[in-house]
Symmetry: C2
DNA sequence: GTCTATAGGAGGATAGAC
DNA sequence: GTCTATCCTCCTATAGAC
């Protein structure tokens, strides 16, 4: 059983230099996403990223060739998680459950990944020019798939005849708001900062309004299900 | 007949220098709001504003002391129009009409003043640090007034018992989306750019879903009123 | 009111010692 | 892998001629 190459310690997944690299890269990206979210690409200085990640500026350049490279890495990363919440919208689920789960998942994302959400919002405000054609295409396709699911529900009479694309955007916009416009949301609920209780209240309000708004009326008499 | 001072021409409302000033200031502000909306405060260069407004850079400094001054002027201007759409939410109106009018007005604003909307969105993403205490206070109060109107409707049983603050934000977020995330919205409806037809479709979808979602169920059988 | 010129400083990026 | 020193560009802002 003994082998001449590395005894058996396949446990340590990486060499020490690799670990340093991983740690520093992640520190840079964490700092960068925050800054890009607040000040945009052009407004963010490499010096700021360096300071916020606790590294000298030259080290940032050691790990990432340019500012664009940092930004592109973050965009790529973001889009990898893009499909997550959408997966709840599946044709084989009942609209009520699927929609409830989707809204809950998106609100949860807004709460726990507010910075990433704002980073993306900033990129869209910028005009989305950093999104590659491939990435745009991916977004379009993934969205369209889910719109078709909603269309199916409408055809089957499981949903009132509402334009699926705009219905979809309603859920999207509403949940995103709590991340991107957190200051406004906090102001509206009358607090300095949103807490988990506020997100729960938001979820109740959104889910109940949307469900009532899109489910066919006959079923709506049983709306206050547990 | 030569007279030394201008004879009787009180017609021109302003002296010629005043007119030049008005024209140039407005050109600067128009260019600036566009750039600030896309790239944020830190990301926007005075040079760009000068180029976009067709003026030499030094002239921009002649009309506005600093970049902050331009930004502050735009913020102030924006907040003056802040209350407009909210005025539809009045206690003496029926919820159905008030909500319909509010959504229509906000969507109309999103369509016709998308840049201003995006400028504001950018400021919020920035953290809202350019809003003065007075301005924040104004926003808080004006919002709270309208939330109270919705609360009143709920108490009177004219609306289902939904948290008025979150209900309010739903309308806000949904309508704002079509300005701030116009690229995403266009992608979702499958076009290169949103047209007026898309806004009309959006309005139908949002109004019908929201009304159905918030009006008490008994009344909802008559939902397809003219 | 307009515009050229420039001061004074900050930013992105790199070279090269350690 | 780390960091100092530095190049060069570009920016905000101002001075002052026209």
């Amino acid at each position: 059983m003994p082998r001449e190459k590395a005894p058996d310690k396949r446990r340590t997944p990486k060499a020490p230099e690799e670990r340093i690299r991983a740690r520093n890269e992640s520190a840079i990206l964490r700092a960068a996403v925050e800054l890009f979210a607040r000040k945009g690409f052009d407004g963010t200085r490499i010096t700021e990223i360096a300071e916020a990640s606790g590294l000298p500026k030259a080290n940032v350049y050691y790990y990432f060739e340019t500012k664009e490279a940092i930004y592109a890495t973050l965009i790529e990363r973001l889009l990898q998680g893009w499909d997550k919440a959408l997966e709840h919208i599946r044709a084989d689920r009942e609209p009520r459950e699927a929609i409830t789960a989707y809204i809950a998942a998106k609100l949860d994302y807004s709460r726990r990944h507010a910075t990433e959400s704002r980073f993306f919002a900033n990129e869209i405000l910028r005009g989305g020019g950093f999104l590659s054609r491939v990435q745009r295409r991916h977004m379009r396709e993934i969205t369209h798939e889910r719109v078709e699911v909603v269309e199916g529900w409408v055809r089957e009479g499981k949903l009132r005849p509402v334009d699926p694309r705009h219905f979809f955007m309603m859920m999207w916009a509403t949940t995103q708001f709590y991340a991107d416009f957190a200051e406004v949301a906090a102001m509206t609920v009358g607090k300095a900062k949103l807490g988990i209780a506020d997100f729960n209240e938001a979820q109740d309000a959104i889910v109940s309004t949307i469900l009532q708004g899109c489910l066919p009326c006959p079923a709506s008499s049983a709306v206050e299900v547990s």
